[in-house]
Amino acid sequence: MPQKRFFTLIVLFLSCQVYFAQTKEEIIANYIENTGGAEAWNNLQGIKMTAKVSQGGMDIPIEMYTLKDGRQMTVITFQGKEIKQQVYDGKQLWSHNFMTMEAEESDAESAANFKLELNDFPNPFLDYEKKGYTVELMGNEIIEGTETFKIKLVQEPVTVEGEKEESISFYFFDTENFVPIAMQSEIKAGPAKGMIAETTFSDYQEVEGLYFPFSMSQGVKGKPGEPISMTAIVLNPKVDDAAFAFPEKK
């Protein structure tokens, strides 16, 4: 009997090890499940986020719309005037020029890269295999004092200065509850090209059965970032189609 008990103990020990040694599939499945479940995420038609971005001592109110049909829009309100950025109406990507406040089409490369993200609503990890993405568990890493699973996500290649480059990002899932608390990716353009951008996520809260991070911080890895805090998240918002349309030039 003592032998049997010892054997039981070993099995128990091994099963506990298995419990801690998560696979990438389990981590992502747990994440999807813990934040509302695949069905609820798949049923989601759109999100409107109202946020406050702190930058250079100013608090900038913004609204971000992301719809399942691919349309997106960020609205910044200054002095009662709406300035729209990164607006996609299903065909064109455009933004308001800050000087003229008139709409201008984004450059072709940015638009092409933007369109690659259309299938990522509401979350690139949802049915990632069907999207042709690959995922790899890189191991455990401590982020902001929290043990995480480091997951590498490879999405469609992006075009940078005319050349195709892999689109790789690393997500860090809290080992306790499987929500991502940080994301890192290489900056592909501009003076900081080659440095690692880091976004951290916190203040996860429930909105109609789905969990969203209501607080984020964006910056370069190793340095404190600029915070963004959500004041409200509305699911399946009513939108005015005309608001997304690229305005006719006057």
């Binding site: 001592g57 200054f78 002095q79 009662g80 004092g145 690393f170 916190s202 607080s215």
Partner: protein, 1008 residues
């Protein structure tokens, strides 16, 4: 039994979970230090030593550099700018190599500088990335110390060859040529000579990857000598992928050989060049083979070809022309006739270590020097420096007490400098001032006068610089009767007294003291070194090539410290392992090193740090790497050295260069090692590596600025790095770490009123050092990261009004929330365009404020004072007048915004009700209130009331002191216009009964 099993199961799961939870709260450095982050201020104008350059084989925009002490950097713009990609790992780099079959993703980095000067650092193995540098993995050769070359078979990425130069300071068998057939998973040593001979260059024939060439070098350095060359140096060739090797010396000199560089012509791999250090002067120089190394012919032995082989044995052949060959050197040289004749390279920093030809045109070249990377667009005739490489190699730094304080320091081959800790627009090249030539080391600011002391190698010159009058005097102690020869270290110690401003100390083998700023010197000690004559033969140093630069001077004093608490207590550490102390100003000396248990004899005493709280307490750090010992050593005494205790525990990596003790909390210590910065909160029982924006860079000196509590690091490869205000660390202890949220005490926050212009045009590709944010910082420690639920922060004034809403940090460890102590911008009337002056946030008045963090159902409070700069000359009464005026305009601006909001609503009503008369009247009125045409740039319309208000708001707010009479006159005019406009709005509202007909928000609702 069943119940028991069930209980056991739960108990087991519970304990497993518990241990897991405990593990997850174990604090690594990053978890503890949180937002406490380093900022890099360079300088980059003189950059630092480069060991290796690597160009992408097909993409001319991409190139890499391996720095001697500053890591690996990548350029994505053809060498205009670079970014670091290897900061988490040791920063001494031997070579960077791209897999030619996968150059975008697979990169190998061999660590450990290979140009083996006295101040060279060391590496810790071979690294590989398979994703272009996002993730690195150490793949072996941990004890290689220095890797000179990596070759990937151009037809098979799995086959990798590595040339290991190996240990510089002692025997080591991990050297020679290694081969992997599985992409670096496993390694086999395929060419080995002995424990003193390493591989300096390794080549592969691009036509036939089975053909390899390897040059082997017998060499050794000690703290007091360098020996290049021996019977075992040789050039080898293999024709079977490294299984067998044969010497290829036909035509090469007989006898002992030294360091040999080898290069192969990619355009015709039959052609090889080698540069050889030989016994006879006439045999040295460049040799060429046109038959794959079978035979060699001497081509040239000019000075630049034979100079300092240990430092310059790099030859590079133009990939498109076998007859164009470049040689690294003091100035560098280039031949366009197959090596027969050479001419000098264009002007650039001396000491050139590597050269690379662009893959698109041979006129485009890159050079790695002691002073960074240079580019040429015309085949090395004119060269320009890359301006954003802060790779400066400080030996030492010191600080002053100015505001902002300055950092003083000396650099390897780049003189002595000082520069500010902050500057308008960031710290730029132009902010740094030169105060010395040659190699720079200690640079000290006189404590009361505008005088700076600096020096060059071996104290050949010590300068006293009168900054005010721009006068320089050379003041190093000269030999005098009885002391014929003074032995100064390459990095000779100087120290100031904190009690006697004009006193300065210097160390040779004796301690010299001057009470008159170096005009006269007194020797106040006997020879404090071992005076071992076997370590004093620098005149014979170098091996096959004499190298008597002074770099090997030994049995010298290296560090000096006078106690702040008692000027008679002076400590001296020597490079040959003595730790001497006097308690009577130099009359009697006691060598305390024998009291240090566990320290190998003769270990270099690198730094002595004295307590500012107890005069019997001192700290000593020792660097054994010149005796092939990389163990960290740091000790503390509390009884003038009668007993010493080691304060090194696990967690410290790398030889120790420096220690700094906090002025307030003696248990808070900072250790600079060859692998970065380490911090202990409990006197050395546990050390944490500081990694927040802090590379694993050799940290040669640490200083703590007393006014700001900034920790300032002089690194040997990444310039000056500052960790702003370490005072929160003083409060981290067993108790505070256990609190759910612990607010750190804060000194009163000074409102920053400084303004200036930065004018940074032309600096787009220059490195700019980061300034510390001038925002107020509210600091707290979180025991556990906040991930779920709401956590928010508000600031209230003394009346309890909320003045700011902030997003607090959520990470475990120290969080720092920046607060700009400003009221939100006024709500501005909506016009056709923006009122840019409307983006003005009034500064809040000085006073008592309270920060409240709400985390779930709990809240945490912290009160603090916001004050005006006590040194400011602006009277309080003027501030009150300004505050009153600003708020009057602010309130008028918001009232106007509300009026315009109402008018817009009335306009909607007028249009809907087709009341054209009303619509016209409202439009006419509105056009006087806000801009209703034009754009935000040169199409701007004439300013209206909104602009007049906000322009005045911005002007009064941004001006210091009370509003000027001119501004008050303008206010009178604007106020009258505002009142008239308000009256007009009211009249229209009454006349057309708009209050009843149109529903609008209340003023309060509108503002919120």
């Amino acid at each position: 039994m069943r119940n028991l099993s069930s209980s056991a199961l739960w108990l087991f799961i519970f304990t497993s979970s518990l241990s897991f939870a405990q593990n997850s709260t174990v604090t690594d450095g990053a978890s503890l230090f949180g937002d406490l982050s380093a900022r890099h201020i360079g300088p980059a104008l003189m950059s630092g030593r480069i060991n290796d350059l690597e160009l992408h084989p097909t993409n001319n925009k991409i190139l890499y550099l391996g720095a001697a002490g500053g890591g690996v950097w990548k350029s994505n713009d053809g060498g205009a700018t670079f970014n670091p990609i290897f900061d988490d790992y040791i920063q001494s780099i031997g070579t960077v190599t791209l897999d030619p079959n996968d150059p975008d993703k697979t990169i190998y980095v061999g660590t450990g500088e290979t140009w083996t000067r006295n101040s060279v650092s060391y590496g810790n193995g071979l690294y590989k990335t398979s994703d272009g540098g996002s993730n690195w993995k150490k793949i072996g050769l941990e004890n290689s110390e220095r890797i000179a070359s990596i070759v990937v078979n151009p037809l098979n990425s799995q086959e990798v060859y590595v040339a290991v130069l190996g240990a510089l300071w002692g025997d080591n068998e991990e050297r020679g040529v290694f081969k992997s057939s599985d992409g670096g998973e496993t390694w086999q040593k395929i060419l080995y000579v002995n424990a003193k001979t390493g591989c300096t260059d390794l080549l592969i024939d691009p036509r036939n990857p089975s053909v390899l060439y390897a040059s082997m070098w017998e060499f050794r350095r000690t703290g007091w000598s360098f020996d290049s060359g021996g019977e075992n140096s040789a050039l080898y060739k293999s024709i079977d992928g490294g299984n067998n090797w044969n010497k290829i010396h036909k035509g090469l000199p007989e006898g002992k050989l030294g360091r040999m560089g080898v290069a192969i012509a990619q355009s015709n791999p039959d052609v090889l060049y080698t540069v050889i250090e030989a016994e006879k002067k006439e045999d040295k120089g460049l040799y060429r083979s046109s038959d794959m190394g079978e035979t060699w012919e001497q081509m040239n032995n000019d000075f630049e070809i034979t100079v300092r082989p240990f430092y310059f044995s790099r030859i590079v052949v133009d990939p498109r022309n076998e007859n164009v060959v470049c040689k690294a050197g003091l100035r560098g040289s280039i031949s366009r006739d197959g090596g027969k004749t050479f001419k000098g390279l264009g002007n650039m920093h001396s000491d050139i270590h590597d050269i690379a030809f662009s893959n698109i045109h041979s006129d485009i070249m890159f050079f790695g020097t002691d002073g960074g990377v240079y580019r040429s667009w015309n085949g090395a005739t004119t060269c320009e420096i890359v301006e954003n490489l802060p790779l400066s190699q400080f030996y030492h730094i010191s600080l002053d007490n100015e505001t902002p304080y300055n950092i003083y320091g000396g650099l390897q081959d780049n003189g002595s400098w000082y520069g500010p800790s902050s500057s308008p627009g960031g710290i730029q090249a132009r902010d740094w001032k030169s105060v010395g030539a040659g190699d720079g080391f200690r640079v000290l600011k006189h404590t009361t006068k505008n005088i700076v002391y600096s020096e060059m190698q071996g104290a050949e010159n010590v300068w006293r610089i009168d900054n005010k009058n721009q006068l320089v005097k050379t003041i190093q102690p000269l030999p005098k009767a009885g002391h014929d020869k003074l032995r100064f270290n390459w990095n000779a110690p100087m120290a100031l007294s904190t009690t006697q401003p004009d006193r300065i100390y210097m160390g040779s083998q004796f301690l010299h003291k001057s009470e008159d700023m170096g005009e006269s010197w007194e020797i106040i000690s006997p020879d404090l070194t071992t005076n071992d004559p076997s370590k004093q033969n620098q005149g014979n140093s170098g091996g096959l090539s004499m190298d008597n630069s002074g770099a090997e001077n030994h049995t010298t004093i290296f560090t000096i410290a006078e106690s702040e608490l008692d000027e008679k207590v002076i400590w001296v550490g020597t490079d040959d392992g003595n730790v001497q102390v006097t308690r009577d100003g130099g009359s009697t000396w006691v060598n305390t090193v024998a009291n240090i248990v566990g320290l190998p004899s003769s270990t270099w005493c690198y730094h002595l740090e004295l307590s500012t709280l107890d005069k019997a307490t001192a700290y000593a750090v020792f660097d054994g790497h010149t005796a092939n010992d990389k163990t960290p050593y740091a000790y503390k005494t509390t009884d003038y050295g009668q007993t010493w205790t080691s304060i090194i525990t696990s967690g410290v990596e790398g030889v120790v260069r420096n220690i700094q003790v906090d002025y307030v909390n003696p248990d808070l210590l900072f250790l600079g090692t060859e692998l970065g910065l380490f911090i202990t909160l409990n006197g050395g029982e546990k050390w944490y590596k500081f990694t927040n924006n802090m590379p694993s860079v050799a940290t040669h000196f640490i200083a703590l600025q007393k006014q700001t509590n900034d920790l300032v690091l002089g690194t040997h490869g990444r310039g000056v790095i500052i960790v702003d205000d370490i005072s929160p660390l003083r409060e981290l202890n067993e108790k505070s770490l256990q609190e759910k949220l612990h607010f750190f005490n804060s000194e009163p926050i000074v409102i920053d009123e400084n303004q200036s212009f930065s004018g940074s045009f032309g600096a787009e590709t220059q490195f700019t050092g980061e300034n510390e944010s001038t925002a107020a910082k509210i600091k707290y420690h979180l025991k556990k990261r906040h991930t779920f639920g709401k956590m928010s922060m508000v600031i209230e004034n003394a009346k309890g009004d909320t003045v700011s809403t902030l997003t607090p940090g959520k990470s475990m460890g120290i969080n720092i929330v920046k607060w700009n102590y400003q009221l939100r911008q006024p709500k501005v009337a909506k016009g056709k365009t923006f009122s840019f002056s409307g983006f003005t946030s009034p500064t809040l008045p000085a006073g008592r404020y309270k920060a409240t963090i709400t985390k779930g159902k709990e809240s945490f409070e912290h009160s603090f004072d916001l004050i005006y700069d006590p040194k400011s000359t602006i009277p309080i009464s003027e501030r009150a007048s300004k505050q009153e005026t600003v708020m009057e305009i602010y309130n008028m601006t918001e009232s106007l915004a509300y009026d315009v909001y109402c008018i817009d609503a009335y306009l909607d009503y007028a249009r809907d009700s087709k009341n054209t008369k009303l619509e016209a009247k409202l439009n006419t009125h509105k056009a006087t209130l806000v801009i209703t045409t034009g754009d935000n740039y040169v199409g701007a319309a004439e300013p209206q009331l909104r602009e007049n208000l906000t322009n005045l708001l911005q002007r009064v707010e941004s001006n210091y002191g009370a509003p000027t009479p001119n501004e008050l006159d303008n206010l009178q005019q604007v106020r009258a216009a505002y009142r008239a406009a308000s009256e007009k709005t009211i009249q229209l509202k009454k006349k057309y009964k708009l209050a009843k007909r149109v529903e609008v928000k209340s003023f309060t609702d509108f503002l919120n």
